[in-house]
């Protein structure tokens, strides 16, 4: 890796790291004031446990050797043979990908908010990392889905669809919250979190070029545009449908746009990011209502935003992929001279990822439920998880 590329990958890795605290604030602000620390901690716990596991065996199983179909091996156990001889590119890539491993389980925390035992979460994250994140990541980046021809630039399938469908499985085992949903306790925190997420997402998407090149620049521009367009679309739908353009709507739209452009960021150009953003903004704004219709208690809409947004972006690649613009070797979308082949592969990849993630997550949650239990007591749920799980209180009335 040239020094310019190495510098961009290292900076991008730091940007992606920042997304997890950003996500924590995004979720934490939406949560109840008595559970905000628990929400922050579920996210920060991922920042503590995942880097260690990633270096021990996560990276090795997810990437070594690159062309294994279903799962890697232990060749890079404890980063064995990954040296900085030459340029350090290999090590920088391990760090960069590790940041993605951190935020993926963290995404699920928004669904299980307000009632999951922290001890259960503490076990869920490492088990889920190895049994779900690592294999799906492998299939998408170097494994059988990759070989079939599906593409996922920065983790639409491997990260957002994967975590989104896991969130659905998790809440089906966990059950609904006892108290009614309440309005966000701090929208300013949500907005700060959204800003941090958007900022970090430039590393997530543009860094995924793993080089400081034209594809990175286009991915950067796409990340900028899709988020704006989706925020705008969500706002317009709300304004017309519900009467007010809300801050939460703007924030949710931005995140939905970022999710949707993630798989497509390095494969689309021109007006495509705006179209993808607009479509994602409208669809996700309606998708967050599915939980009412079907009765699953996805507290902070991980399914509506991440699963649905990820699917929208990943499927739209089948239409908007434009390899000639990038001088690339990936498949052409229907709007750029291709047939339905890429679209079919995108659908297969997402269906495969969803089946694995849903089934394995469901089994992990059932196993936890039957052993240590997954829910806090009714009393703890009523008085707040900050106190019951962490012995702390976020807001003291007088100090």
């Amino acid at each position: 890796m040239e020094s310019g590329n190495l510098a961009w990958v290292l900076v991008s890795a730091a940007l992606v790291l920042f997304m997890t605290p950003g996500l924590a604030l995004f979720y934490g602000g939406m949560d109840k004031g008595r559970n905000v620390l628990n929400m922050l901690m579920m996210n920060f716990y991922c920042l503590l446990i995942v880097p260690v596991l990633w270096v021990i065996a996560g990276y090795s199983l997810a990437q070594t050797p690159f062309d294994n179909g279903f799962i890697g091996n232990f060749d890079s156990f404890f980063l064995k043979d990954i040296t900085v001889a030459g340029d350090g590119g290999a090590l920088a890539t391990v760090a960069f990908l590790g940041m993605f491993a951190v935020i993926t389980p963290a995404l699920i925390s928004g669904a299980v908010a307000d009632r999951m035992k922290f001890s259960a979460w503490a076990i869920f994250v490492p088990v889920w990392l190895f049994l779900v994140f690592v294999p799906v990541f492998k299939w998408v980046y170097g494994g059988w889905l990759f070989d079939r021809g599906s593409i996922d630039f920065a983790g639409g399938t491997a990260i957002h669809v994967n975590a989104g469908v896991a969130a659905l499985a998790a809440v089906l085992v966990l059950g609904a919250r006892k108290s009614d949903a309440s309005p966000p306790h701090s929208l300013p925190l949500v907005m700060i979190g959204t800003g941090i997420l958007w900022f970090g997402w430039f590393g997530f998407n543009a860094g995924s070029a793993l080089a400081a090149n034209g594809q990175a620049a286009q991915a950067f521009m796409n990340t900028f545009l899709a988020a704006a367009a989706a925020g705008l679309a969500w706002l317009v739908v709300e304004w017309v449908r519900d009467g007010h353009p809300t801050t939460l709507g703007a924030a949710s739209g931005v995140v939905a746009g970022l999710v949707a452009i993630t798989p497509a960021a390095g494969y689309v150009s021109g007006p495509a990011p705006i179209v993808i953003g607009l479509i994602a903004g409208v669809i996700c704004c309606y998708a967050v209502r599915l939980k009412k219709k079907f009765g699953y208690d996805d507290a902070l809409d991980v399914v509506g935003v991440h699963l649905v947004g990820g699917l929208v972006g990943s499927i739209l690649i089948g239409f908007f992929s434009n390899p000639s613009f990038f001088d690339g070797e990936f498949g052409e979308g229907i709007f750029y001279g291709g047939n339905a082949e890429l679209l079919v592969e995108q659908i297969i990849a997402n269906v495969a990822a969803m089946i694995w993630s849903f089934v394995v997550t469901f089994v992990i949650m059932i196993a936890l439920k039957k052993t240590i239990g997954v829910r806090v007591s009714s009393e703890a749920e009523a008085t707040g998880l900050d106190l019951s799980e962490h012995g702390e209180t976020a807001y003291h009335s007088a100090s």
Binding site: A181, R241, G243, T246, R289
Partner: protein, 112 residues
């Protein structure tokens, strides 16, 4: 001695405070409170889901006063807090057995 308790709209607090100071009141205790009366609550919409907000934010003022001053103080509060719209609040008056100034130990009206 009497305790005058007034619940008013939060944005009227400054007007009420200035009017009371101008009327010679030397101490007020203020608490941020929530509640509902005839005004009721309102609805807020988050991600398309409506939430009924029953308890609206209000400010509660507590003023200790010597009995002869009470009517004048109540008039000052009423005038300053009035917007003419529903939800302007309420004022009520209760008897106070005694008042003690912590620093000096004085009791009765001189402790107000």
């Amino acid at each position: 001695m009497k305790l005058i308790t007034a619940v008013v709209k939060p944005f009227k607090l400054d007007d009420v405070k200035e009017a009371l100071k101008a009327a010679g009141v030397v101490g007020i205790t203020v608490t941020e409170v929530r509640g509902f009366g005839r005004q009721g609550g309102h609805t807020e919409t988050y991600r398309g889901a409506e939430y009924k907000i029953d308890f609206l934010p209000k400010v509660k003022l507590e003023i200790l006063a010597d009995a002869p001053d009470v009517d004048r103080i109540v008039d000052v509060i009423s005038a300053a807090a009035n917007t003419g719209k529903i939800g302007d609040g309420k004022i009520w008056i209760t008897d106070v057995e005694t008042v003690i100034r912590v620093r000096t130990g004085e009791t009765g009206p001189s402790a107000i």
